[in-house]
Assembly symmetry: C2
Homo-oligomer: 229 residues x 2
């Protein structure tokens, strides 16, 4: 029986691309907001890979985000941005906006399951984001607890262990098939959430899973329906 | 400026002694409930000391509670208790009842501060207890994050680090002067909560701090008043 749901966050619960583009415009940055968001996000996997491979000790995602920001600013002609403006801009990841179904979906799912983020984001980032959107977590699990990054199996298994649950009593919920495949390999149940617009209209957002999953839902409210059927 | 409040839990937020005594009666154990609670709790510090000293690797408090239960059952003539009954009884620590001021006090304090338990209890225990009482945490910090037990400085400092805060931006809230002294030595602010009945009427519960603290409050609602003055 499933007792806990673990959630991927960037892309699955929050619209990182649209949020960063909006914030870039709000701050008056003279850039294509979507292109800026894409460039920042494109540095994400390579930065984590240095930690996953063991070549670098664990550092929080906030640190990687900041290094990645410094890397892309010159490409957008923003190399003169001040230290304090860079530090402030880096916190945009703490206040990304949720997709429209998420707050109601999490509240419904929380009636029956323990809920935790299983994100590569660090604890402070997750805590701020929960405040910003009104998410209510039972605990903040994920990369910082495990001191490594998904899709390393240690991250999923550290989450199950923190809740004193066997992997088969936990379900990973994500909009990314690769995340679900890694969780399934650890013995967790899986649920895919369609986020076709994660990378913008017509982009590479997954309309459905391309790996076997236990549930495939259109959004979190649909997942709640599927789980109670 | 204080940004986060960290809470001791056993004794400060929840009435472990009264809750365990009630549960012992509810389960029909033929024991003096308060004496049983005291005996169980008396094994708490020595059990953690083995971990703090480095003589034993970190194990969760649930594990220590279970070992301590096995140790005291014969003293109460309960050595015949079954394995499944022992496992179920051990979970009483997950559903201890809060003191009357706590739910309203935490809700008020959460309007201005990040809140986290800074307990020797493990994550699953804290998550279950929060559900049982209606606490809302921003993250579950404490011993399991640090993989050591209070009053080791690493535990307090791991909590500050998880929230990306300097120690002086964090305040430890506890009914135990020894906990506050250890937190203050790490640079945290401190608030004492009076829990004169922690060990029963006329017991050793602290009516006030016996070390220097930043605030001394009668309960959490009083603390909220003091902090907004």
């Amino acid at each position: 029986m499933t007792r806990a749901l673990f959630f991927d966050v960037f892309g699955t619960l929050v619209d990182w691309r649209g949020s960063i583009a909006r914030e870039a415009r709000r701050l008056g940055l003279n850039v294509d907001g979507e292109a800026f968001a894409d460039a920042w996000r494109n540095e994400y996997q390579p930065a984590m890979q240095a930690v996953r491979s063991g070549g670098r000790g664990y550092v929080k995602l906030d640190v990687l985000h900041r290094e990645n920001l410094d890397r892309i600013l010159p490409r957008f002609g923003l190399q003169a941005m001040s230290e304090s403006d860079r530090a402030a801009l880096n916190l945009v990841w703490h206040r990304l906006d949720a997709w429209p179904d998420v707050v109601a979906g999490l509240a419904t799912l929380r009636e029956r399951y323990l809920l935790a983020p299983m994100s590569n984001g660090n604890i402070a980032l997750m805590a701020d984001m929960a405040r910003h959107n009104g998410f209510q977590w039972d605990a903040v699990l994920g990369a910082e607890i495990a001191r490594d990054y998904k899709p390393k199996p240690e991250v999923y298994l550290a989450g199950c262990n923190a809740f004193d649950l066997a992997p088969e009593a936990c379900m990973m919920v994500a909009a990314h098939s690769s995340d679900l495949a890694a969780a399934a390999a650890c013995g967790l149940k899986t649920a895919h959430i369609a986020r076709p617009d994660e990378f913008g209209p017509g982009g590479a957002g997954e309309k459905g899973p391309d790996v076997p999953v236990d549930y495939a839902a259109l959004d979190l409210l649909h997942l709640a329906e599927l789980l109670s059927a």
